[in-house]
């Protein structure tokens, strides 16, 4: 378990650096696919089988296919911009380091507190992971689900509208 986690975590870090550092957008997209598949494995380790399936279908399947298609369609020739013109990128790196330090300080100074819920692995295993989440989605989380469905509708309408008109 620990060895598996270490391997997948290293995989995640390497592919995440690939997403940021590769120069060709297609390579960025492919390492993002690899990153998302590794994340799906992590979800499986965390006993979230439903998230595992959703991650692979929605992200690695739908979203990344969209990215790859758009890159192939537009063929933006070599994004040489990783080495930027000015020195603005230093701000980005400095921000990143400070941000990581803040997150680390939070993680190590505050204990991970929280009230444990009722869904122990045994309870979930009794009804099944997907069934339990499905019941929760349509009872306790009905309102967020409805709001999300409206959001999806608006996004679809907006995408169709944007596809129809031309910016001059």
């Amino acid at each position: 378990m620990v060895v598996g986690f270490a391997i997948v975590a290293a995989w995640e870090l390497v592919t995440a650096v690939g997403v940021v550092a590769f120069r060709k957008p297609m390579y960025n997209a492919l390492s993002l696919v690899a990153n998302m598949l590794g994340l799906a494995v992590l979800f499986l380790m965390l006993n979230a089988q439903f998230l595992f399936a959703a991650q692979i279908i929605v992200y690695a399947g739908a979203v990344m296919v969209l990215f790859v298609f758009i890159i192939a369609l537009m063929n933006p020739e070599a994004d040489i911009s990783f080495i930027p013109r000015g020195t603005e990128w230093i701000y980005g790196v400095v921000f990143g380091v400070i941000f990581a330090a803040l997150l680390g300080a939070l993680l190590f100074n505050r204990g991970l507190t929280g009230r444990p819920g009722a869904f122990t692995p045994e309870v979930i295993a009794a009804t099944g992971n997907v069934q339990t989440i499905g019941i929760l989605l349509y009872t306790r989380f009905l309102f967020p689900v409805e709001v999300t469905s409206v959001l999806l509708l608006i996004a679809a309408v907006g995408a169709v509208y944007l596809a129809m008109r031309r910016i001059r």
Binding site: V2, V20, L39, A48, I70, D79, G104, L107, P144, A155
Partner: protein, 101 residues
């Protein structure tokens, strides 16, 4: 569960930071979008880890909602990028000042 929760959270924090750095350093709008996806994924990992270690499914449900919102966001964002590209603009977020005119 031999892997402690804070390890998952640490990995999530590092992934989020990498995404944030990429968001600010890169200039291709498509790559900027990918970095946003990286950050959302890192948050999902934190959600899943906390819901596993607190014996609660709320985190899993919200991670699912985050995945949905990310899909919607990518659709609209890519539609806008394609429109800008069709209009013959450069693929560079520093050069995009359409809204100023």
């Amino acid at each position: 569960m031999p892997v402690p929760a804070s390890t998952f959270l640490l990995l999530s924090a590092v992934l989020f930071t990498l995404g944030a750095i990429g968001f600010m350093v890169r200039r291709n709008p498509l790559v900027v979008f990918m970095c946003i996806e990286l950050m959302l994924n890192a948050v999902n990992l934190a959600f899943a880890a906390m819901s596993r270690y607190l014996n609660s499914l709320d985190g899993v449900v919200f991670a699912f909602l985050v995945i949905t919102v990310a899909a919607a966001e990518v659709v609209v964002g890519i539609a806008i990028i394609v429109q800008v590209y069709r209009a013959g603009r450069q693929m560079d977020v520093d050069e995009l000042d359409l809204m100023k005119e």
